[in-house]
Symmetry: C2
Subunit: 439 residues, 2 copies
């Protein structure tokens, strides 16, 4: 029987690992509780109506159908039986010789779990369509609201967290309010929308060089976004947010709040730590060995956002797609080397730089030696993201939509879907007995 | 103050009415509880992963933003105060001088409401994404199922109702099973999928000429669909369907059933009937006057799927998009004529024919004098549907995806979204307290 590799999670880490195992004589089982690989870096564009979910989510089976040594299973991993070398599923199990855990991270509200329904984060397709519904419903509600103060609260958006996700989301909101929705309403002027980006440190994009942070803040201001640095969210209610800046707090009426402030490693990390005694960092990420394996368990690897890998310079690697991709490929190569009886050097991250986009024709790119901002950075961002999309069809569809959005400033996917945000009918009106709604 | 026209519903009837009122000196309010116009004829392609929701759903505001005399409101009409001439909303009201009711129809289970969650119908975006999830989850579950009989039940699909929607859905399922999903699985062969189309009358597409029904049935068989005519569904359970054919019944293990058998007019029709004494037909549709107004209420019009209009030949017009479009435009012209003090002839439907498509390169077209089937009919179908899509961007995106789907037989939008269909974790495993799921 060939060596069995089980990979939990079809994100960047898991998928790149599976693909790199193509010519390795192993049986690969890729487990995911979703049937698609999600291109998370563009999720904010789904949340703001620029792209459709399917443009950035590709069925794992479609990607891997020609790779005969991979079996994709839609399943939920609930635990790992380390002694028995099998993954426990909610409805079965999957035995392994080598295990790759790549289950990623989720939001973290720093002890304020009650904020989650009030300030959703952006990690899944459902998060994105929920945020999309909230954004466009806020404008609809403002159009119908006659009280000036209440209308103002509907037209106030707060994004918590000034990292790349927060900056990109706030920038896209600025685009929407100032350009896309122009002429769409009769009672409100969407350009009156107030967008706040709240960051605890002293500048937006704090992991970037200060010069690029300045450029990003300038672009954000141009799109009508107010950047509040050195500020923390103290409380969130359904109709207001309390923000603390130094010693003073102030309460802002706002109906729409989004969370881009913190992530925490997914739950399997804790299970691994409990079972093997390895340490977790503050964000719950598993401290891994130089070869990404678990101490004392060379047969188990942890990669991507779930792993805490301390880099050459002593800092842990950030939770970004390129790290996960390289780690996935590294583990595949290491497995290959082991089976061939060869040794393999420790993992080394090749930093190709990082970038963030802020609305139309503006972005920042940090490639270490080279740092630049503006239109060229934006074109670089576009090109890199387009090329990294899996499947040619999605590249084409995204290119068509980006061109269209650029030329017309329109965003076509502005759908309010899911549960209706409209007020329920009153008892008097529903007593007629028909549960169906109208119009 | 200009004459106030309130339109309830932004489907084909309401939207075409609003657009035709562009140069008429009236104030138009278009009420809809969704923020988009949905191109229902292509909904089955969303349900089968060929297109994305946003490709066939366009924000009403985007369509009407340059039409200064139209105000779009996201609102739910719960009743009509006919004496007071105002529409009652769940949160307010909308006064009118002329009212156009175009709230359409919904599914009808002929007294078996318990079947609704077991056999969803296809009317909304949420219906389509729910059906999409069920289809692709069924294949995932079959891939993991080891019991041959249970696997067979996951690979059995039943479509109830052999009208255009049922035929198009069954055809697309055939395409999926026999072509799109080829090589995607390791344990099952999707070509083993059993697809049943159940029709009570003696042929599929019973409203079409018999020759076209024969062609449609032939195309369906080619795609592996079994057409069961003269058959009725007697019972639906979560794991089986009982079908009666004449005097005999038989029980078929099947996990996935879709409903395309009956529609019923929406609830406002009943309110109008109760308040004005006009009659409803068996499907709950409002019998309208030759000018589409309500008897005794020339200021109220009912159009589209909610209206029962008896045609020149004594038969009621079918609930299809062209009828709704023409009726919407007719009412706009009539309002225009009235305001100008002119009379206007009664409504007359100009039948441009009907068409249905059955998978790849096969369709039937009935244009009265001319009837044809096959590739030419399919190209006609493609062209007409592409041209009728609102907004150029959607035409382009749909064209790209259709070309892609045709060339590769792929369907990219195969996402299982929404609530997870996976079995819940067992109590033992969830007691650790973390509600988040993994992998």
């Amino acid at each position: 029987m060939p060596h069995r590799v089980v990979i939990i999670g079809g994100g960047f880490g898991g998928l790149y690992c599976a693909r790199r195992l193509k010519r390795v004589p192993v049986d690969v089982t890729l487990l995911d509780r979703r049937n698609f690989h999600l291109f998370q870096p563009l999720l904010y564009q789904v949340a703001t109506g620029g792209l459709s979910p399917a443009n950035i989510a590709v069925p794992l089976r479609a990607i891997l159908k020609r790779q005969a040594n991979v079996r994709v299973l839609l399943a939920e991993a609930t635990d790992i039986d380390i002694a028995g070398r099998r993954v426990i599923l909610s409805d079965g199990d999957a035995p392994y010789d080598t295990l790759v855990v790549a289950t990623g991270a989720r939001h973290h509200y720093f002890g304020h779990d009650a904020w989650e329904p009030l300030a959703p984060g952006l990690k899944t397709i459902e998060d994105a369509t929920e945020i999309r519904s909230r954004i466009f419903f806020a404008f609809e509600a403002a159009e119908r609201e006659t009280d000036e103060a209440l209308r103002r609260a509907w037209l106030t958006f707060v994004v918590v967290g000034g990292g790349p996700t927060g900056v990109e989301l706030a920038g896209a909101l600025g685009e929407l309010a100032h350009h896309t929705l122009r002429d769409n309403f009769r009672s409100i002027d969407p350009a009156q929308t107030q967008i706040l980006l709240v960051e605890g440190l002293d500048r937006a994009l704090p992991t970037y060089p200060p010069k690029l942070s300045q450029a990003a803040e300038r672009y954000l201001r141009r799109l009508g976004v107010t950047v509040k640095t050195g500020s923390m969210v103290q409380d969130i209610q359904s109709d207001r947010v309390t923000i603390r800046h130094g010693e003073t707090s102030h309460c802002l009426p706002a109906r729409t709040v989004f969370w881009a402030a913190g992530v925490q490693a997914s739950r399997l990390g804790k299970r691994l730590a409990d079972a093997t005694g390895v340490s977790l960092d503050r964000a719950g990420r598993v401290l891994v060995e130089p070869d990404l394996s678990l101490r004392g368990h060379p047969e188990i690897f942890v990669i991507g956002d779930l792993a805490s890998f301390v880099h050459q310079d002593g800092k842990p690697l950030p939770g970004v797609a390129p790290v996960a991709m390289q780690q996935g490929q590294y583990v595949a190569k290491l497995v290959h080397a082991r089976l061939a009886g060869r040794t393999h050097p420790p993992f080394k991250y090749r930093d190709l730089g990082s970038m963030a986009t802020i609305g139309r024709a503006a972005a920042v790119v940090d490639m270490g030696a080279i740092k630049f901002a503006g239109v060229l950075a934006w074109l670089t961002w576009l090109f890199v993201h387009l090329m990294k999309l899996v499947q040619f069809q999605n590249r084409l569809l995204v290119l068509v939509q980006w061109s269209w959005n650029y030329l017309t400033r329109n965003r076509a996917a502005r759908l309010i879907t899911g549960e209706s945000p409209l007020p329920p009918r009153t008892a008097e009106r529903t007593q007629h007995g028909d549960p169906d709604a109208e119009s």
